[in-house]
Symmetry: C2
């Protein structure tokens, strides 16, 4: 590639084809088939019940994208694909395509991208009813993506001098943030707050974790329903980015009022640096919010800390959660 070249532009123009390829591969469970030692086009085609031509071209494409390795005529998984894309791996996160590359979501981005740039946002999915199946799809699909982040937070929270006894998980969704804390802090009661259909997913995950006797729910919108009080910890995981500053401050105020003295609000977010163009993933995430919400954003640390002060918190502590692209912020 010469210094002056259209390659990067063309790569961006064609980028939707990468989504298509990885979606096809997960839907036909190609990665698991390769992980199970089918390694030639013919073996793979038989195993995933697809045409040899389709399998050959898809495998070559995924090799170009460095999701597979090709040796002569044989394909194998990269170390990362083996961990994250083979269904037999406990860390497999292939299911995230069900939400992150859902037709409803892709349409929001691709149908008229100039429109949300001109308008500075979009109605997004907010015009969908609480019982729209995409919310349940989201809750189920994102578990493998969020479980390691939730685990990291739970380990940290369990080490606090006084671990929380009563925890509210706001916009719980799949419920994995609250559930991870429930597992890490013996006896802690967890309350999941979300729309009724989505809470079914959280309850199902709580039962799978053996927490059903310590898991309660509050059904409704986090903006409208009563949160109750007496919480040692209020979790607000990956929720603030959907709203403008006012919306965020409002939620943080509700959290503060729901806490016992000495309690904490724990926010999980994509937090870009002040330059808003690094690190790549949190910085790029602002574009997701432009295309899919009216006023959401990837908030910087400074902005989040200012929101916490405006909501009446006196202290905040930020901690990145590598290797995930997420950051936790604890307000007291």
């Amino acid at each position: 590639m010469s210094d002056i070249a259209p390659d990067r532009f063309i790569d961006n123009v064609f980028a939707y084809q990468k989504t298509a390829a990885v979606k096809a591969a997960i839907e036909i469970d190609l990665f698991s088939a390769i992980g199970a030692d089918a390694d030639t086009v013919e073996m793979l085609a038989a195993k995933v019940n697809a045409s040899p031509r389709g399998v050959r071209i898809l495998c070559d494409y995924l090799t170009v994208q460095e999701l597979l390795i090709k040796d002569g005529k044989r394909y194998r998984l990269t170390p990362s694909s083996s961990v994250f894309l083979d269904k037999r791996s406990p860390a497999c996160m292939g299911s995230v395509i069900d939400f992150l590359a859902a037709p409803e979501l892709m349409q929001l981005f691709l149908e008229n991208p100039a429109a949300y740039v001109r308008n500075g946002g979009s109605v997004g999915l907010a015009n969908l009813a609480p019982d729209h199946p995409i919310w349940v799809k989201f809750a189920r699909a994102m578990v493998p993506f969020m479980a390691p982040v939730a685990q990291g937070i739970a380990t940290e929270v369990a080490r606090w001098p006084s671990p929380p006894r009563k925890v509210l998980d706001v916009a719980a969704g799949h419920g994995v943030f609250g559930i991870a804390i429930g597992k890490a802090v013996p006896g802690a009661r967890i309350v999941g707050l979300d729309w009724r259909p989505v809470l079914e997913v959280a309850l199902e995950n709580a039962r799978l974790a053996g927490l059903e006797k310590r898991y309660d729910t509050i059904a409704g919108s986090a903006f409208d329903v009563e949160w109750s009080t007496g919480y040692d910890l209020v979790l607000i995981p990956n929720f603030l980015h959907h709203f403008d500053r006012e919306g965020c401050v409002g939620l943080l105020e509700r959290a503060r009022r729901a806490l016992v003295p000495g309690g904490a609000a724990l926010v999980v977010e994509m937090v870009p640096n002040d330059d808003r163009v690094s690190p790549p993933f949190p910085a790029a995430f602002a574009f997701v919010m432009l295309a899919t919400t009216p006023k959401g954003d990837a908030w910087t640390a400074q902005e989040l800390q200012e929101m916490g002060r405006a909501a009446g918190f006196v202290d905040s502590m930020l901690r990145p959660l590598p290797p995930s692209p997420q950051t936790m912020i604890v307000f007291r």
Copy 2:
């Protein structure tokens, strides 16, 4: 990024968002506005008539994708964006999004990617009538992408010991391959063959090049219409990849029969190495053919040479055309 990480997978899942961003930027002519010295969010928003929030998030996203540079609060073009994305640049190729990211094309890839992998191809755009507007859109959009390739070929052809006097451009489309030769070889007559509505674009480009008196046309499908004879050169630019081996051999045979003794067929193609996973662009191009044609492919040099022999040619010469991802193959 650690060695074992889901980053590459997630980047592929989210890739459609890159297409959306670059499409928005070109549609609102953001790159030209930055090139014309609007460099803050406020100035840009006023100039492109978009919301500051939309412009800020889009510019940050394009900076993450290395299509822009951000210094403090000011944005500027990268050297490559300046050459290829600012409309005032003669090499600007922003218009390629009109075809390469056209809704009709993206839908072919994204609607049901597992289906074309399972089936080993798709009906693609072939079910569209010859007068469907996408063909004219294609012909117009691809000119800036193909013009430099055509220029390289024309320069080479003009240096041949006996430059061609009569040239057939098969599936001429925009016509730039034939037109470039017409300009480089004084007196050469060019015949563009394509569907009638598309030939209007070729004729328009021929007029712009001052070649209208030396430019003739044959309207119809390259598979059905008579090509006539007596050509010194038959061009088959970016056409063979749409067909299977039989289709390609058939076209090459028609070319051979249309040539005068000593004449040449000149094919332009995306030619991957024998491993079919390098170089990245030609290798990945096979996936475009999987999603959009019944049996097309990115043919290797060996395969193309074998097709040439099967069509009755005795000699073939390959030459890559850097910096483009294309290769020319001359059959005699």
